[in-house]
Amino acid sequence: MSTQLKKAPRQRAYVPITLIALLVAIGLLALVEKGPAASGIPVGASPLNPMTLGTSQLVDLAARNYSTAIIYSLKELEKVSGELCVFVTISPEIPFRGDEAEIIISLLKRRCSKLKVLVADESPYSNPLLQVLNSSIRVNGNRVLEVSTAAPVIAVNESAYNYSLPSPYPLAEIMIRSSHAIVLDKASTVSGGLPIGYAYPRSESAILCLANPSGEIYECGTAFVVASKEVASGVDVFAIGDGSVLLNQVLSSNKSEYMAFARELLSYLCEGNPRCTVVFDAMHYTSLSPAILLSNPAYSLQELVRDPTTFIYVVLSLLAVLLHPSVWLPPLVQLLSSLLTTILTGFASAILIFFFTLVIHKILMRNARTFHDLRLSEQAEEEVGVFAEIKKSVISGKVRLSKQDFAILCQTLDALLVLYSGSGLWSERSLDTLAELLGDRRRAYKKLQWVLKLHRKAIGKSRLPLLVFWGRAVKKLVSLIDEVGERVSERMGVNLI
């Protein structure tokens, strides 16, 4: 004979796994569609770059007093508005196109009551923007070098020059509200407009020379214009032939004159108006995609990993891009698709791959014994004692009221009556006691007769009544016992049941 054990009830999840999987799939597709927040790691003088060559600190500085907006695309310009807008572009790495510059200026003019433009650039990339504004200012794209007159200089190749001689770091004095003396870094001269900044040598034994992009010196002098301003087409234009004076590396340096310069420049452009919006251009910078970085690790090591902070920044930015589904999901789907095509078209190769997959899997798993990843068991809080056991059995549904229960409950009633009067249910005085407790002799008589009759049936001493619903009978007896118990409590001051 075998005993079949009942299976434990299966726990059912409120949210089916299929639905969760579907939602995850929808989420992944949506993320692929939206694309990553940034296609790669922002590099150069981008306002998104928090590293030494970025300009994120200038954005933070502006954000302290004014509204700021970083423009990744022309669409973003639609969101810009304000009493006074200042468009800032610092050392762009992608040249402005004429049509693009026109859109930028026309959009900003439309959305802002007043517009100002700051160009801090050592290359001619931002000249189309100045052209669109009908400004006479141009960034010449040359290099201002400080050359010692102690040694003759014939030609200088920028890629091979000796840093001590000639030096690309001339001193400059730029007038905003007050005059600021700062050191430039590979600056260019500026032509046109009203000159407000001049570069000059730091010692009397040196002169300044201009070199073209190929490194040839073509002009020397004691001072060159490196900053100009002008009002063109109703737009205030402010141009500096060097973007490095606003980079993070100089703003975070110990030299406070750069910070003072940047603060006064922003204040001058915004006219101290808190409703001014400073719009930073982030469209004209390249971003380093993980694919380029991984395909050319030497480049990444040389250009990006300069210090531990930069390394962490690069790794985190890389991870953020790599983990985005738009990076890995399309190639994965493509790979799976091509794999499926190969398998479906070539049965032999499919068999081969399947076989080798099994072999490789076997090799990889040769010493591994895997386990279910079950969560740690939680401490159960339980009731203990006789009633806890009764509750468990009642809730399990195994317990049914029967004639045995009726017989036992008759004994309960008997014990109650004994405690109250000394005489029990089957004594001669039981009717008197019950009548006293219930306050109605006739009702007490009927109840007593009913209890005694069913008790006789329950213990098998009588066959009548023929049909008894023991469940109902027990419930009726329970309510009688409760009533009697309550009366006993009232009269004796004793809570018995």
Binding site: L335, S338, L339, T342, S349, L352, I353, F356, T357, L358, I360, H361, L364, M365, A368, R369, T370, F371, H372, D373, R375, L376, S377, E378, Q379, E381, E382, E383, V384, G385, V386, F387, A388, E389, I390, K391, V394, I395, V399, R400, L401, D405, I408, L409, Q411, T412, A415, L416, V418, L419, V474, K475, V478, I481, D482, G493, V494, N495, L496, I497
Partner: protein, 437 residues
């Protein structure tokens, strides 16, 4: 120490497939295969470092427990002095099943930063007696769930004791009841506060007792004399077996009995009674020395009550051994008559209990059995309506059994106090004061 999960097997199957594809179809898949393998190794290495960090964790645990009025606060500080953080650890706290966690999560995920601290705070509802927090277990996983550590017990747990609070209202009611009913009167002169008589002055009497009004009228020194307050030795025996923990937490028979004893003990200490207590359960009997006076007696009783505990390993078949209890209690009983109050259920084992009471009574002690009717402590909360009637019927069957036990004891001449919970203290004091010397 590190176990791979079934997920790891699936992951390796994908890796094997990519390797096979790279070898036979598309060599471009080789970097992906290498990345997958590197990721697996990285996860293993990370888990290895994490387990090392967990093993080096310094655990500072504290349990604040006093009386059953204030909650029990368990604080576990996990201090990571190393450089590697514990990033993804699952924790689970073990404790006695009768304790109830009121604040905090008994299981969850935690992170301990490098050179940092994670603090877990658990607040339990205080229950009278000695309880145990079993310890804190951690399991560390990697981010992809490829590996998991074996359960690591970072804290082995500790026991704490909660003493029952005395109820101020019960105490006030006791004082009022005894004073107004004259229960404390011994009809003999001595130490006390109640007036007894005025007698002639005798050398050595305190001057502050002189009745100056009599001296003024009769030119005779007379002193005021107090009535000696009566006192006796009292021994409380409390049964803390499994069935005495039945019912709503904090209002079970054993906890209610403990509070009643604490209230009576405080009252009796103020009256100068000698007191002690003993705890019995399925494990055995613990007696806390012979009866002593006043505050010392009170602290002895409270110490005993703070040691009531649930026998977690016992089953329904295990019962209190009253014969062994008698052997343990006898040595501490005084020669003079003592009051012995036994707080216990009358069933099962009624005959053994009766035997104990008879033997103690035969030694001249006055023994009372204070029997909590367990049904009155139980509520059918949480039960679906359709089961209420069945449950009530079963409750009454248990009540019938207990009532039969009480009846059996009473028939044998044992004094049984089986009254409503709120009247228990009053009845005991009444029994004490009416019959004391």
């Amino acid at each position: 120490m590190i176990n791979p999960t079934h997920r790891f097997s699936a992951y390796m199957a994908v890796t094997a497939l990519v390797i096979a594809v790279a070898v036979f179809i598309e060599p471009g898949a080789l970097p992906i295969a290498a990345t997958l393998l590197a990721l697996e190794i990285a996860m293993y290495f990370h888990l290895w470092l994490s387990i090392g960090a967990v093993n080096r964790l310094e655990v500072e645990a504290s349990i604040d427990a006093l009386t059953d009025r204030e909650p029990v606060v368990v604080r576990i500080r996990l201090v990571n002095r190393g450089l590697y953080p514990v990033l993804l650890a699952e924790y689970s706290l073990g404790y006695e099943p009768i304790l109830r966690l009121e604040k905090g999560c008994k299981a969850g995920i935690l992170t301990v930063p490098s050179r940092g601290v994670a603090e877990l705070v658990f607040v339990f509802g205080a229950r009278v007696g000695m309880h145990r927090i079993d310890g804190l277990t951690l399991v560390v996983r990697d981010f992809l769930g490829l590996f998991k550590s074996q359960p690591l017990v970072v804290w082995k747990g500790s026991s704490f004791r909660v003493i029952p609070s005395t109820e101020a209202t019960v105490l006030k009611r006791l004082y009022l009841y005894t004073r107004s009913s004259g229960l404390v009167r011994s009809r003999r002169p001595g130490e006390g506060i109640e007036f007894y008589d005025v007698r002639d002055y005798r050398p050595g009497d305190e001057l502050r007792r002189v009745v100056w009004r009599i001296y003024a009228t009769r030119q005779k020194l007379a002193v005021w004399e107090a009535e000696r307050e009566s006192y006796q030795a009292i021994v409380y025996v409390i049964n803390s077996s499994r069935d005495m923990w039945t019912g709503v937490p904090k209002a079970t028979p054993v906890e209610h009995s403990a509070r009643v004893i604490a209230s009576i003990a405080r009252y009796a200490a103020s009256r100068g009674y000698l007191q002690t207590a003993a705890v019995v359960n399925e494990y055995g009997t613990v007696v806390f020395g012979g009866p002593v006076y006043g505050r010392q007696g009170l602290s002895r009783v409270l110490e005993a009550l703070a040691n009531v505990s649930l026998c977690t390993l016992c089953t329904e078949e295990d019962q209190v051994n009253w014969s062994a209890a008698l052997i343990s209690i006898l040595p501490v009983l005084p020669r003079e008559r003592a009051f012995i109050f036994i707080f216990t259920k009358t069933t099962p084992n009624t005959e053994r209990l009766l035997d104990l009471v008879i033997k103690l009574s035969s030694l001249g002690h006055r023994v009372y059995v204070v029997a909590p009717i367990t049904v009155t402590y139980d509520v059918s909360h949480g039960l679906p309506q359709k089961f209420i009637d069945v449950y009530r019927a079963r409750q009454l069957e248990v009540a019938a059994e207990e009532l039969r036990g009480i009846e059996l004891l009473r028939k044998a001449g044992v004094r049984v106090i089986a009254v409503s919970p709120q009247l228990v203290a009053q009845r005991i004091v009444q029994a004490l004061e009416l019959t004391s010397a």
